[in-house]
Amino acid sequence: MTSTFVDIPIPPLVVEVEKWQLRFFAKAVGETNPIYFDETAARAAGHPSILAPPTYAVTLSLCEADPYARYRSLGIDWCRMLHAHQGFEYFTPIHAGDRLRFQSRIVDFIQRRQGRLKFLIEETEAWNQDDVLTTRFRKTIVIRDPEAQP
């Protein structure tokens, strides 16, 4: 097993939280609670606007032209990637109208079996327009590459 710390620079990503996309996400997952797609219902429940569901920060973090580019730069084919683990810590809710800044870093990149199996761990923080941390999340990706050359 080899652990290689990968310090590839990942520029911050700034994303506006859009109502239409929250509605689209709610439809895609069959959401029935209207605070996740109806602004009036969200306000009636005490929210400033539509509430972003618990996993939505990942969707926002992929809101760039080529979110897989950094993996490709490490020689990772997106068709060989499998999501192995995902964890969130929550500090402040995210709502439509927020402007978030995502800062990601690769925490670890572990190679096993001469590179035929790799694990990549990435951590992201999402800060809102008031410079308050909304959530911190960590994803672990496993890459199976049976043809890797040792």
């Binding site: 618990p54 068709c79 810590e89």
Partner: protein, 151 residues
């Protein structure tokens, strides 16, 4: 909805959430809605070229379903952490059955920390996802300051 720690005991089960079977349309919607455009989930040719039988569900779709199990039980603002391990891929036609059990209840400052064990299986009971969530709840519901009519 659970609002205070008095409504929760270790061993309680969250109401089971059964989602519809995964279809290609489900995955097409989620691809667009989630910004995850990896072809493995929408293009059978790409999936087969990578050695899979067919497309399969996005991990984050499965996790979103477990999130719905949680937010159907307690308001999302109570959620402190949520994590899952994706144990097996979820294929077309499979249907996720999402369950949760309270495994921990501890006083932490002025809040109760509620630990929940999460599990999602297919309709045949085969395990797909396991996970944990932590929820913070007040000790008791704060009385709403509603004026009483006195005559």
């Amino acid at each position: 909805m659970i609002e205070h720690a008095g409504q929760v005991a270790v061993g309680d089960h969250l109401p089971t959430l059964v989602k519809p079977p995964i279809t290609r349309a489900t995955l097409a919607y989620f691809c667009g809605a989630s910004n995850d455009h990896n072809p493995m989930h929408i293009d059978p040719d790409a999936a087969r070229a990578a050695g899979m039988d067919d497309v399969f569900a996005h991990g984050m779709l499965n996790m979103a379903y477990l999130g719905q199990l949680l937010t159907g039980w307690v308001a999302q603002e109570r959620l402190r952490s949520f994590e899952v391990k994706f144990g097996a891929i979820v294929r077309l036609g499979e249907q996720l059955v999402c369950t949760g059990e309270v495994i921990e209840k501890e006083l932490d400052g002025d809040r109760w920390r509620i630990g929940i064990r999460l599990r999602a299986t297919n309709q045949a009971g085969e395990e797909k996802l396991t996970g944990e969530a932590v929820v913070a709840l007040p000790a008791a519901l704060v009385e709403a300051a509603t004026p009483t009519t006195e005559h």
